[in-house]
Symmetry: C2
Subunit: 219 residues, 2 copies
């Protein structure tokens, strides 16, 4: 389920199959419709009552989820690998941040939050439409890849100086325990975000944003 | 209310006045106690039942809130100014991130989430102990400061090249509408985080982290 004029229009323009569209007359007059969704016209007030997590006075759409299909990551592109990101807000924010930095492919462990959780969809602010997420066991996945695997540790190469190259997999660890011990052997480049104060760690989504900014800056 | 061994010990070591400490015998044996808090010894299971938002098997403490006191920002230091950060998770994450980057002073509009909201405290991961937060009307506050005021806009100076100087106030806008129109005239340096993909914007806490990383990197 997607809410808000901008995200609903992006969904209608995407290859997601929209099955239900609940919208105001104003939205329907200006929107580009396609496919054969059931359409229900409602007032602003009804929409506001239906909406969770965010204010919405234009439209709400329900679409079919996509199958969990694998994809290839090319040698000259960056992708994210999420090792048990459990918080829906963190997952959605990571997807939105990846989309800002032009990263369209995300591989996630089965314990990672569900992409179709409404809190995840809401936090992506529509970016889930432009990114692909594939859930799989990470040990088997990482054992089979040729790309460099970047992981944030306390004793790695300073991200301000690190040469990230043209592509690779950025492995993001769980909110509490970081990167699983079992996955450390697949990390080919340990990197570190320099600390200037006293917090023990950064939130997983914040660390993702800072590393992506440094990847693009140095690239 | 603070939960978890590390944060509770940091609270006990701080100038916060702890009034109640609920802890396991193991925690009490290893902790450094001071002041005259009421102490209740409990089992792990009782603590787990008491705890919200995070797992906790060591301790929980209740402390008095601090008065909303103003402070000076020196010319050679950076501080954050929060223009209506409403989401408690965002506020807590911003405080944690500021602490990572050695930023100890935060000024917030009255509409910003309450520092003592349990979700805020939890998301700071203890960093609220090391930072000072002062709630005040931002128009009056910014009208009276001499420091540079940095604000993120779409048409500002690229943060990858911007010379941030030795100090200033980083103004962070509301999650939905960005920086208030009424505050724009106080912004002396408009800055921009370069975009490489298609997301329309970044989450407010993510943007804060990326700008702080660039401030420290260029400083």
């Amino acid at each position: 389920m997607v809410q808000g004029a901008k995200s609903v229009q992006e969904l209608l323009d995407s290859d997601f199959q929209v099955t239900l569209l609940v919208a105001t007359r104003a939205f329907l007059n200006s929107a580009t419709l396609s496919g054969n969704a059931e359409i229900i016209t409602v007032t602003n007030n009804v929409l506001a009552d239906l909406s969770e997590y965010q204010s919405n006075d234009a439209a709400l759409a329900v679409a079919r989820t996509k199958p969990n299909d694998a994809f290839a990551v090319e040698p000259d592109e960056f992708a994210l690998v999420l090792d048990e990101i459990r918080d829906p807000g963190n997952l959605g924010t990571i997807i939105r941040t990846a989309d800002w930095y032009g990263i369209r492919k995300i591989i996630a462990s089965p314990e990672t939050a569900d992409l179709y959780n409404p809190k995840v969809i809401s936090a992506t602010m529509g970016s889930f439409i432009r990114t692909r997420l594939y859930y799989t066991e990470l040990e088997g996945y990482l054992a089979g890849v040729q790309s460099p695997v970047l992981g944030a540790y306390l004793d790695g190469s300073n991200v301000h100086q690190h040469n990230f190259g043209k592509g690779g997999l950025l492995l993001i660890g769980n909110e509490s325990r970081g990167i699983s011990a079992a996955l450390e052997k697949y990390v080919t480049q340990k990197i570190t975000i320099p600390r200037y104060g006293e917090a023990e760690s950064l939130n997983a989504a914040i660390a993702t944003g800072i590393i992506c900014d440094n990847i693009r800056r140095n690239g």
